[in-house]
Amino acid sequence: MIKDRGFLLIFIFLGAIIGLFLMVPLVQLFINVGPVKLFNTLQEKEVYESIFLTLKTSFYAVLFVCVTGIPLAYLLARYDFWGKSFLESLLDVPVMVPHTAAGIALLVTFQNGEIGDFFKGMGLEFMDTTAGIMIAMMFLSAPFLINGAKEGFRKVDVKYEHMARTLGASRMSTFFSVVLPNARNDILNGALMMWSRGLGEFGAVVIIAYHPMVAPVLIYDRFTNFGLNYSAPVAASMILVSVSVFLAIRFVNNRFR
């Protein structure tokens, strides 16, 4: 045990550096803003509407990927097929590209061209709309949920499915009663990662929809037009709300695990 001491001290010291680096700016932000200013900012209509819009659109993006991405994740986890590795790499591309470039790509696809015309025909426009914000958030954060669900499904032994089916459950019933509940934690973690990644999305959103303003755009707008004193309270409010929601979801999940 005595010999371990030096080893532990080095690791604690190194860990503390990055831990403090990650925490201090957030704490400093709250100290600078102060509770009164934070409370007042949260009561501003423009701020709470912007925060609500951010939470809502990111949540819608998560819902859409739950419906479409979870089946894809299951297929990737359970089956080997031609081009699977390529498809998996392709799904990770949005995480790697510059977010402004992703915004341009979305704009080119959904505002102009045949796909854009198709959606316009259905009455769906993406430029400066909530739908535009949602696709921007979804494009850059969907891989978090898909990959999380894929890992979750891989951890569920295929024998559970075989067993459920010998007991009379159909393929679909087996998926909902056995596979999904046992992959729940990974899926929920992936969904939370996607949702929180969506909350912070700025680069792609600002290109496709400056208005209505989501919180990151509002922070940027206030910073460029009015300076730090006006943008910091909005930033602190956004962090407070999103961390609270994040912790609440984790708490509920742990309670009912």
Partner: protein, 325 residues
């Protein structure tokens, strides 16, 4: 009842090759084979989990293309595969969500009483021991009222002290719940206790099948005999000139040594090559021409005969102890 005709399955490098056998209603059928011989794959194929070539009939209905949920066969895996998101009771009652169980309440009460699991019902499956998991997995499979119950090495994860009691229960299940069991194992003692009929499987093929007693005591091939633990397998022409193409085997405990030949038995002059003392007996390796016999001699007999390495004596086998293969 169950008739399998030329069943073939290919998975990666391994395949089941044209297996054919029949299992009678209300019988206990054991498939015996080494690890990796394809036993689990065969059970999964019968259950409808693997796509097969060939035909599978159950009570005259062809089921070769039926999905598992339409076959009505119960399954118990080696590692039990209890659903971790459900309690013990929910696991047992799982089948009732998807099909109508006849006399469900009475059946449930009877099963938990028979398998002695009443005290476990509200527990999470992560809090069960190996033996408890096995009983819950059996209960879940029986509760689905299977026409055929497929058991994949159900005793391998069980503490040896509980094995006999569980084997007794397994044997009782056939009559009590009016079902038929196919049980795969690598343990031939387990097979000899449980089986009415046995099939011996190796490398994806069934080498021999028949009434348990016949297969276990009179194997028809050297491969099966070796797998079943038969020792001292030598050409039968050593014993009788008429047995030209056959071999015989003799149990090491049935080999007798003497300093004089006996005319009522097969007796050969032998050279004792090696003697190893074990707690209550001696292992003796004796050579007759190019064949080395292995015998187990009780300590008192060994001392009486004063057997020593590098000496000559007679090795005798009673006619009834020679098993011809």
């Amino acid at each position: 009842m169950l008739k399998v005709e030329n069943l073939s399955v290919q998975k990666g490098d391994f395949s089941l090759k044209k297996l054919s056998f029949e299992v009678e209603k209300n019988s206990y059928f054991v498939i015996l084979g080494k690890t990796g011989s394809g036993k689990t794959m065969l059970l999964e194929s019968i259950a409808g989990i693997n796509k097969i070539e060939g035909k599978l009939f159950f009570e005259q209905d062809e089921m070769s293309t039926f999905p598992p949920e339409k076959r009505g066969f119960g399954f118990v895996y080696q590692d039990f595969v209890l659903f971790p998101n459900m309690s013990v009771k929910e696991n047992i009652l799982f089948a009732a969500r998807y099909k109508k169980i006849e006399d469900a309440d009475a059946l449930f009460a009877d099963i938990i009483n028979f398998l002695k699991i009443e005290h476990l019902l509200e527990r999470k499956i992560t809090h069960l021991s190996g033996g408890e998991k096995q009983r819950v997995a059996m209960a879940r499979a029986i509760y689905s009222r299977p026409k055929l119950l497929l058991l994949d090495e159900p005793l391998s994860a069980i503490d040896p002290t509980f094995r006999n009691a569980i084997m007794k229960s397994l044997k009782e299940i056939v009559k009590r719940y009016d079902t038929t069991i196919i049980h795969v194992t690598h343990n031939f003692r387990e097979a000899s206790y449980l089986a009415d009929n046995i099939a011996v499987m190796m490398d994806g093929k069934i080498l021999e099948q028949g009434i348990a007693n016949d297969v276990l005591n009179h194997p028809k091939s050297i491969e099966v005999a070796k797998f079943l633990g038969f020792k001292n397998i030598f050409p039968a022409s050593m014993l009788e000139d008429t047995y030209k193409d056959r071999v015989f085997s003799v149990d090491p405990n049935a080999i007798l040594f003497s300093h004089t030949p006996s005319h009522n038995e097969y007796c050969f002059r032998c050279h004792i090559e090696e003697v190893m003392g074990i707690s209550d007996h001696y292992k003796v390796f004796a050579k007759i021409e190019e064949h080395t016999f292995f015998a187990k001699v009780p300590k008192h007999m060994f001392n009486k005969l004063a057997l020593e390495e590098d000496t000559q004596c007679y090795l005798c086998i009673k006619r009834r102890d020679a098993v011809f293969i």
